[in-house]
Each structure stands twice: as structure tokens, then as C-alpha cells.
Subunit: 310 residues, 2 copies
């Protein structure tokens, strides 16, 4: 039997990044791109998205060599989705300068027949209506993970509510969790979100790590502390991809597995931010990953049970 | 031989707290108060500070029953230090409305003869000149820990530099670390601070936990995620007190011990914020603490080595 695959649906893009270290144009981007590169370190990936006539064949070829099946990447008339953003001096925030949806404006995900039985599905941050369209096309996946963003929380609350009913794991950041629930305390907000559908919930806190909640309790993983953060673009998508790739590979959703999956996701996110766009992520080997994981886990080990001294 | 003691020097105060949940006046406060209550769960405490004529004898009696030797608490003419502050709706920030230094304005710490050989010393957040005066009076402590704040970093940089040269462990928050060094990246800022003197460094990040650095590497401990945060006042001081109490009790500064000490400090901080002022902290039993520590550690356990799946 072949290894289980993960289906990833989302954006492929080109980004123009105005960083404190300089301006970088025509940088390969898109949530699904980052997620696929990260997930492919663990398992075969099936990618569904849309690109324009300007998207280089060589990039698809490279993804293919990494184990990403790009049969679901539709090439449409027009230009690829393009985003231009400027980061603050400390890289802590960013401003969108320009968004050109281009071929992404009319994107309707079509899942190839061969992809429909994928046991693991990652719904990138796209319109909740499109996320629902994907779910209508796939056959009983074991795990559906979705990302979303403030924009959909504000403008498509009802549709997003339907998505939540149908997914197993929601991955959002702390501000989104607060906006979605109207609750500031994250422990309480998590309980509220889990009542709406997803049994599993990850709340990302950027450089402050991630919280995980399921019926077995809570888990906290820090972000890997880096000396040099170059570009945060794609970190969250690399996190989701690494997490999904690991879960797909080990093929279980038990609580301890989720803990390790979050560490793998965070490790991939930490590599991602070390280079402009996906440059560093594209260079990561499994040996690099194993090494970082060891360092990462040693960062939080308490060295055994922590009992009170007499 | 008797158990080793910790010497704690700092403020005793009364606070008026304008919380989202109501206004609470004449609440027992002061950094040294919180630190002493927390540390006393582990080891005998020797407290040095100043109070006014209005400070109730009953509070000193209660501290005494907890194992806090208040022989170094000077009663001066006038009123006790008083602080009035208002917290934001989410408790994430606070504004000082009024500070009445009162007897604290002329405080010059006098270390009683019997306290001078204390092996562990916690210098609360007081004027760096006073921190140096304390160090001039004590005899070769094994560990000196200091807290400080933005105010001294900005106004007394030179004196603070002298303090740094003489201490073993500095406990500050992330913004203070950045202000002290002019470096945004905390890993780099930590290296810079450690070059200035303290071999050990803790950078507190409030609800985001704490980072620790020494020659054996870095360590990260999250904050214990609470459903109900009532009042953050004193959390950092309870952290420092719990940390010092544990270190004093186990009497070693090895890297794994520091990791556990940070967890104990964080656990005490988490109790502190559960009540107005020190109310909850004063009720914490060793059984409560052991239970929270177990829950706390289970929050971050990865369940063994994290290897890459084949």
C-alpha cells in the first residue's frame, strides 16, 4: 500500500516584499505553496490551486520532484495572484500595499478524481464558500484542517460557521480566535470555538508559540527562538504544512501525536522565516529538520518530574 | 544545620487597584511582600524593607508565621509607600494614577547582622544605588538575583551597569531587555546582557512565559494558561520569589535546576493573578502548588523524543 497523501487547497502566488533588509520582487508565494513544500518533507502532497500564464513551469517541476502532485493546479488565462507588502522594522507587523487577485478572483477548486479519496485535507485560507466546495467534492477524509483569517470572520461569519461544523481541526491565530468568539481569554475562547465544530483547535501566537486544545486537555509549544528572522512571510502556512505532513505520515490524531505534530509545524515555520520567501524552506533537508527538532525539544524539557522539595 | 535562607530586599506597600471588576483600596502590596510570600513556601525568608506608622502589625505577624523573618523591616515615621493604578479592560496594560513614596522616599536598606551571611539574595526593583548598598553589606552570597525596570534603565544606566557586574541572575521583561540593549531580537539581546555581568538571565514575557539563558543554552517555559485572570499585580514578584525560594531550598544553580525553578516561579505567578492583590497567593498550600506543577509540566510534555517518521 502506498503512503497516505495530504490534499492541500489554497493559493499559489508571487509576492513583492518590502523588507527592512531590502525589496524583493517576484518571490514565489501563496499559502498552498509554503504548506506543500513543508508537508512534502513527510508525505506525498496533492496540490489544488490556480496559476496564471506567467507562472513558470520550472516551479511546478521542482514541486513535482519534491513529491507534490500538481495535477490539481489549474492554469488559467491571465496573471497569477500577486501580493505586495511592507514589513515594519522589527518584522512584527506588515501592511498590504497591493493585492492583485488576477486568476485567483474566479478560482473554483476542482478536485481531480484521483485526489478525492485523500485521507488528510488542508483547506488553506480561502473563501469559506470555496472551502465548503472542496468538502463537497472529497470522500470522507479522516482529518480536515482549515485555516482562516479576520477578513472572513468579519464578512462571512455564517459560511465560516458551516465550515467549522465540518472540520476536525481549526488553525487560527490569537487575534482571530478573539474576533471569532468575542472572548478575550484564549482558554475560554478555545472552549467556545470547539463547541462550534472542530474537536481539535490550534491557536497560533506567532513568535510566542502555539496553544492546542482537544478533549484530552491543553498543550503549549513555544516558537523556536531564532537569532536572525529574515522574513515572516509563509511561516504560518509552513507551520500548517509541516503539521499536516507529519499527521498524514503517522496517520493518527491521538493527543500525544498532535503535540509532536505541532512541534514539527513550528520547526518548519522557524526554517521558513530564516530566508526571503520560501528560499530557506526549499533548502531544508530531513537531517536539518531532525537536528532542529532535537534542539527545539531540549529547549523545553524540564528534565523529569518536577516535585516539590521537602 | 538549618535550611539556607533567602534575603529579600524591596518594597512593602499598599495599593489602590482600579480593576475592570471593581475598585479595591488598601490592598497589601509591594514587590518584596509578594516575593516573600512566594519564597516562604520553600525556605526561610529574611525580609528587608520599610513601612510607615500605618502598616498593621498583624500583617508582619502573619508573615512571621509563614517563615518570613521581618527583623529587617524598618518602621519609619510617616505613611507606607502607596500606589494607585488602573488596569485596562483586558488586564493587558495598566496606568499609574498616583505614587506616594512616603517612607520609601528615604529608604536606605540596612541589613541586620544576622542576615548578612544569607547565601541567596533577591534585590527587588529599587534604585540601583540601593541595590549596590545591599551588596556592600552582605557577605559573599552564592547567588544574587536582581529585578529592575525601564525607569532605572533610562535614568540610571551607569549605576545599573555596576549592578549588572555584581549579580549572577538578572530577571527582566522583554521590553526592558530591548531598552537596556537597544536590540530587538531577544536571543541577541540576551547575549549582550550576559556579557555585561550576569551569567544567568531570565526574560519574562508576561502571559507568554519566560526565556532563560546561561552558558548551557536556552530554555523556554510558558505561562500557565488560566481561564480567569483577576489581577496581574505582583505576578512578576511572585515569580521571582518562587524562583528564589526553590533555588535556595535545593541549593544549586545547575542548568536543569534553573529550568525547574522557572516553572515553580511561573506557577506562583499563576496563583497570584487569580485573586486581587496577594489574596490567592496567601492561600496557596504546598499541595496546591504540587498539583499545579504537575498540570503545568503536562502542558508542555512532548511524550518522549521527537524523531522524524521514516
Amino acid at each position: 500500500m502506498s503512503k497516505p497523501s495530504v490534499l492541500i487547497v489554497g493559493s499559489l502566488a508571487y509576492d513583492d516584499l518590502e523588507m527592512p533588509s531590502g525589496t524583493f520582487e517576484n518571490v514565489l508565494g501563496g499559502a498552498a505553496t509554503y504548506s506543500s513544500i513543508a508537508a512534502a518533507l513527510f508525505c506525498p502532497v496533492r496540490l489544488v490551486g490556480v496559476i496564471g500564464e506567467d507562472f513558470p513551469e520550472a516551479v511546478l517541476d521542482d514541486l513535482g520532484k519534491r513529491g507534490v502532485d500538481t495535477a490539481g493546479v489549474e492554469r488559467a488565462k491571465g496573471k497569477t495572484f500577486r501580493w505586495r507588502g511592507r514589513y515594519s522594522a522589527d518584522l512584527g507587523s506588515r501592511t498590504t500595499l497591493d493585492t492583485q487577485l488576477n486568476v485567483f478572483a474566479d478560482f473554483r477548486p476542482k478536485i481531480p478524481q484521483a485526489f478525492k479519496s485523500s485521507p488528510y485535507v488542508l483547506l488553506g485560507n480561502i473563501h469559506p464558500a470555496l472551502q465548503l466546495e472542496v468538502l463537497a467534492q472529497v470522500e470522507r477524509p479522516e482529518l480536515v484542517v482549515a485555516d482562516t483569517m479576520n477578513f472572513w470572520i468579519g464578512s462571512e461569519a455564517q459560511l465560516l460557521g458551516k465550515v467549522l461544523e465540518k472540520i476536525d481541526l481549526l488553525v487560527i491565530n490569537d487575534e482571530e480566535a478573539r474576533e471569532l468568539t468575542g472572548i478575550h481569554n484564549l482558554v475560554k475562547a478555545a472552549a467556545d470555538i470547539r463547541k462550534r465544530g472542530p474537536k481539535h483547535l490550534i491557536i497560533k501566537r506567532g513568535e510566542h508559540g502555539a496553544l492546542y486544545f482537544d478533549s484530552d486537555g491543553a498543550f503549549y509549544a513555544p516558537a523556536y527562538p531564532l537569532e536572525d528572522v529574515v522574513d515572516p512571510t509563509g511561516a504560518g502556512d509552513s507551520f500548517a504544512g509541516g503539521l499536516m505532513g507529519y499527521l498524514t505520515r503517522v496517520n493518527t490524531l491521538a493527543h500525544p501525536t498532535m503535540r509532536r505534530a505541532i512541534y514539527f509545524g513550528s520547526a518548519l515555520g522557524s526554517f521558513c522565516v530564516e530566508g526571503i520567501g520560501p528560499r530557506r524552506l526549499l533548502d531544508v533537508t530531513r537531517a536539518d529538520l531532525a537536528k532542529r527538532m532535537a534542539q527545539f525539544v531540549s529547549l523545553v524539557e524540564t528534565g523529569g518530574p518536577v516535585g516539590l522539595p521537602e
